[in-house]
């Protein structure tokens, strides 16, 4: 049976001041009245029921997760005592799923991406599950067709086409490239962006983890032994933090043989920074992307976001990010993709980490 595993462990401040350590991006709305987490759950509702939808999240985010998606049974929310990257997260989910469904197929998705439309997403998922039906050992990735020479994503190089499928064998994984390399990738039409969505059988990924990262599997087995018992919380608190913090890409995918990629026919955005809003939301006549109350004179190309009924008013400005929240406001150069990290560090250094 198909299960959905939503990885909601994000804790970043890339949408500061709106995202905070206690309220990361998956809990926020971007051009929708539903949060990214809610949209991620909604996306699968038509083909996977709530009982087969699983969420892995951090201890500090468990309450907000339960509040936002009350339809997911509380037993389906797995709590990571701490973040250990995607390999332990996926291993934990796979082990837990197998306890209820020995034939579980897992659709693994981050909780904080925008994917549209749902119909195309569902179509791509069906193509992935069809590959797994043919080859239970397959590890299937979704590949997004590049539209520009992005340097912020990993790339998947396709190999030979699979029979009876729109998918391909994966020839190679490539780290985030420089612009020149990304431009070559784009021109070659052989590369996809690795968007971090996967489909595989739970037993397959556990078998692969055992082969390539046995130090994770050893600890997962200790957890498996106490599922549904009173010892679960203590064992989890002991074992999970000792797992190596490693991505599933590095732990398994780059080393495994039977990795396939299915071209995504949906639109995908990882909502990686404030700049994403200009892609995701419509702009006004002056190219401003607005959420909330705004009045601008001679103001162009800005991304403006305010809380509640707060008014943001501007004149004579261009290409700014302006984000107002009740206790902090960001005003920044939209074209500067990298300085937010520096600002966050400066806030910590200045004793302002209460705002993070």
């Amino acid at each position: 049976m198909l299960h959905v595993v939503i990885m909601a462990g994000g804790s970043g401040t890339r949408f500061w001041p709106q995202s905070r350590r206690a309220l990361p991006k998956q809990f926020l709305c971007f051009g929708s009245e539903r949060t990214l987490l809610q949209e991620t759950v909604d996306r699968c509702r038509d083909f996977v029921p709530a009982e087969r939808t699983w969420i892995v999240t951090g201890a500090v985010h468990a309450d907000e997760t339960a509040r936002q998606v009350p339809e997911i049974p509380s037993t389906n929310v797995l709590i990571e005592p701490c973040g250990r990257n995607t390999a332990p997260c996926i291993g934990l989910a796979a082990m837990r799923l197998l306890a209820t469904d020995p034939d579980a197929v897992m659709l693994v998705m981050p909780a904080d991406h925008v994917i549209r439309p749902v119909s195309e997403f569902q179509r791509t998922v069906e193509q992935a599950t069809a590959i797994i039906a043919q080859d239970p050992a397959a590890l299937v990735l979704f590949g997004v067709v590049p539209t520009y020479p992005a340097t912020g994503f990993g790339y998947i190089q396709r190999g030979e086409a699979l029979t009876n499928s729109s998918g391909f064998r994966v020839a190679a994984f490539r780290e985030k490239p420089d612009v020149a390399t990304a431009t070559q990738y784009l021109a070659s039409q052989e590369f996809f962006w690795n968007c971090g969505l996967f489909v595989w059988r739970a037993d397959t990924i556990l078998e692969q983890l055992k082969r390539h990262t046995p130090e994770i599997t050893t600890r997962l087995k200790r957890l498996q032994a106490v599922i549904g018992t009173e010892q679960w919380p203590a064992t989890l608190a002991t074992e999970f933090p000792q797992m190596p913090s490693v991505s599933i890409d590095y732990a398994v995918l780059e080393k495994a043989n039977s990795v396939a990629v299915v071209p995504a026919t949906f639109d995908w955005d990882d909502v990686g920074s404030w700049q994403a809003l200009a892609r995701l939301l419509p702009a006004d006549a002056d190219g401003n992307t607005i959420s909330g109350r705004f009045c601008g004179v001679n103001s162009i190309g800005c991304i403006v976001r305010s809380s509640d009924k707060h008014l943001i008013a501007t004149y004579g400005v261009s290409d700014l990010i302006i984000v107002q929240t009740p206790d902090a406001t960001l005003v920044a150069d939209k074209r500067d993709e990298n300085s937010l990290r520096q600002l966050i560090a400066e806030l910590e250094r200045s004793g302002l980490s209460d705002f993070l």
Copy 2:
């Protein structure tokens, strides 16, 4: 006896969003814990007691005025039913003063200028009163020595020097000039900025008003007849709004003969726009003028102002005005001196006048 008349009728939005129609500039603090109105009262405290300090303000601002300067007797606060510019305001005050002191000398000051230091201010006032002691018919202005070719002020051209005084006869008044003319004025060393501070006898200015603007005097006489009676409020409400809305400069000063100017030895700023803060407050190492909590990365030359404990954070920006208030935030180009007016108009047009 010397009286102080503080004109606190300002109702502008030049410091929007901090100044509002209900809370104009004189009620705000700029680099001090005292508001401009409080500082204006404080400035004269050493040489004029509260009983001889008078405030003329608008009906909507009477409560805030009383709250901010409780030391001024409530009978000394004169309420304009509506704004009619400075000639009716000064005429009303002169008429009221004469009823308590037939020899009243009036020091007239706007409530919303910054003047420092108090000692030099007092010295200039003494020079003005000395001229009036010699010539009771004198109308004395304070002239600020220009430091740059300002186009936003009226100019006073000095004539012959007065004997036994640092003052001069006024040769001519000049409207706000263009830059070329202002540059000539500056070079000639014959011109002062007209800063809107005056000293004269109450009976003298009433006599001059009678000669040059009798339609004001006629109505003032009807008010004079009801001072201290129950009819005062109704008579004021009837007569005051019918006075012509005209400045004392236009109504009297430009037409009178015995006008003198005393060079101001104090520093003066009319705090005419947000840009004034960069003059009045110290800047940080990056040239940012900050009031409130701020954290900036690669941010230079900005004027930043936040309310309460709100944090404003920036990166990659320069020469911005950023003003946060609980319900509205302004982000604007510091170098654009004129667009705030356009923004205010746009707010009204957009149905956002509740924010004004």
